[in-house]
């Protein structure tokens, strides 16, 4: 294993690189397209805890200027914007900031439903480098729903100010998805974030998300339920998560299973797959 220090040096150099990269091709091709979301090729969701600078990331990517107040929950509506990279157009959906996706509140319900039923091509989870532990709670939940995730470790400058060093490479290795260090306020790391999102969507970067280890009796219950769900809805990528939600008594997921909505989702994913063979690879990689 690398010493933590080398990883930190690496993450810092990544930041510096991103900042110096203003003239490099990847950055030159990033076009901020504001609210013009028509005819986009891919949908990217932006999730994250409140107060992680999610709105700053949104603004930095789309060139929009959504107001960034420093209090929890100021993004009370779902905002949409767009950006383009290498000739492809991406629609960016800013989800309400939430601590978790266990549908305790309306915001969490909105975010969860979009990740599950909106089927974004990639989900960027913005995390606060100064409180990674709490933010990872949400990341782990998102990883249960979808494989195509990029973790944006934002507020790297604040972390440094507070005397915390974040080893982004180790984080990425542990989570099984790419992690990108950023300082969204000064647009550092945005180019790398965008190219990583594109790479995940194109299948150039394969992900194998970390699965949460549950206590034995919970895992047993999941193992008892997940195969039944896979039999009923073949091709469902997140049967394990559905099992967890059913065990927790999630009303919306129960309904989705009863009404056949989940089956429809799985069908849509299967049909989309031949057109984008990369997706099949990503799915196979996960199973």
């Amino acid at each position: 294993m690398d010493s933590p220090a080398s990883g930190i040096a690496d993450s810092r150099s990544a930041l510096v690189n991103a900042a110096e990269c203003q003239a490099c091709p990847a950055h030159a091709q990033l076009a901020r397209m504001g609210v013009d979301v028509a005819g986009s090729d891919h949908i990217v969701a932006l999730a994250g805890n409140p107060n992680t600078g999610k709105s700053s990331v949104f603004n930095a990517l789309t060139g929009l200027r959504q107001h960034v107040g420093n209090w929890s929950g100021k993004t009370v509506t779902r905002a949409e914007g767009a950006f383009a990279l290498s000739g492809k157009r991406y629609k960016l959906v800013d989800l309400p900031g939430t601590y978790s996706l266990l549908s305790a509140s309306q915001d969490e319900e909105i975010s969860r439903n979009f990740l599950l039923f909106g089927q974004p091509d990639c989900t960027v989870v913005v995390t606060d480098a100064t409180a990674l532990e709490r933010n990872l709670n949400l990341v782990l939940q998102v990883l249960e729903i979808t494989d195509r995730v990029v973790v944006c470790v934002n507020l790297m400058d604040e972390a440094e100010r507070k005397g915390l060093a974040v080893d982004v490479r180790s984080l990425s290795r542990d989570l099984g998805v790419p992690a990108v260090p950023t300082v969204a306020r000064s647009k550092q790391g945005m180019a790398e974030l965008v190219s990583t999102v594109a790479a995940v969507i194109d299948g150039e970067v394969k992900t194998s998300p970390l699965r949460v280890e549950h206590p034995a009796e919970v895992s047993d219950a999941i193992r008892g339920l997940a195969p039944l769900i896979e039999d009923l809805v073949p091709g469902l990528p997140n049967a394990r998560w559905v099992a967890l939600r059913l065990l927790d008594g999630d009303h919306r997921v129960r309904e989705a299973l009863l009404s056949g909505e989940l089956a429809e989702l799985a069908n849509r994913q299967r049909q989309a797959a031949p057109a984008q063979s990369s997706r099949i690879r990503a799915l196979e990689g996960a199973q």
């Binding site: 420093n70 990341v139 915390l164 974040v166 039944l228």
Partner: protein, 461 residues
Amino acid sequence: MPADAQVILDRSDTLRSELGGSFRDRMVEALYQNAQRVASRSVRATGAGKWDFDQRVDRLVTSRWLGLPLMLLLLGAVFWVTILGANVPSQMLASALFAVEGAAAAWFESLGAPWWLTGFVWHGVFRGLAWVVSVMLPPMAIFFPVFTILEDLGYLPRVAFNLDWLFRRAGAHGKQALTMAMGFGCNAAGVTSTRIIDSPRERLLAILTNNFVPCNGRFPTLIMLAVIFVAASFPPAVASFAAAGAVVGVVLLGVAFTLAVSWALSRTVLSGEASAFTLELPPYRRPSFLRILYTSLIDRTIFVLGRAMLTAAPAGAVIWLLANIEVGGAGLSTHAIRALGPLGEAVGLDGVILLAYVIAIPANEIVVPTMLMCYLGGSMMMDVTTYEQIRAVLVDQHGWTLLTAVNLMLFSLLHNPCATTILTIWKETRSPRWTALGAIMPLAIAFLVCLLTAQASRLLL
């Protein structure tokens, strides 16, 4: 297929009962254990850093003795800066725009336009716009950026933290302080921001009482009255402080009404006790001034001003028409003012003020312009641009007293929300009953309070 799904659901129910009722606890515990493991491998403390500084600031702004005075001082400072900075630009804007009105009207006449066209366009529509721009733009252009700095610093959640005890006693949620802060900008925005309150009962309280925070549309009224009637009786050196103090006083009165009404609602139609409460105190962030200027000027100032102008133009037209359409030897507005007169007198106001509030239902911003246009009538008093001149018109020609000023401030603080806010309440609650209560209750309170002060002052003085 649905039958199979039912089997799965039943199986999940059975498994859940077997796990014994604490499934959620164990699931979240596992999530955090995993998160902790991952985080501990990738995060390392390199030193103390500047964390201590944040904590020291926090200890100061929430301190037992200094927390609340500091808050009042900041609030006062924001108003003081606004009043001090807005005074001169307001007058300059007014004289410039009224010069345009005069010149353009003369130009129309030289072209041979009929008197009613000149009057309607320039003394009606344009004058309405000119008043709104000159009265509103300078205070907003100063207030919004200054307030946005406080917001971006992360100070507002500390205010909620400091005041939560009061809200708890009133049966409400401390985050209501945050939604009230948003209400300073615009009550409609304040009502929308109540979504941050999770529990429906406390959220309704916040929606129904947001109106008691004077929004930017009402600030100019308060500032004007504070300057004309309060500051005027102080020596010039401290006049601006006195005016700011008066505005702070009105805001505090609004807070008192918010708490009292929340308390009353909590014990009647919205009975219950405050439930879950969590409030995140985010770390302080250095505000980025360029973005603040941009968002507060474009998103807020121009947006609010644009809305005000949209309603001011037709309002100006209406006022001009009311003044110039004659029925039975007098203008329509004269009839309306005469009809509203007795009610106005009873509550310590007058007919013109009430008429202005009726016309200003779409947007509170146009109350002062409407009032002044009614008072000045068809007269061509272009030179009424400074506060001293306005004071002369109100006091000397229209018999305003200190009671009129105080009651207008009270009425402005308490009266019904504007049409946009009422619509927003409907959108957020989807209930005609709560919307009606949100509109009628403040109006009733406003009339009642004004009636009481009017009667009390008449008894005592």
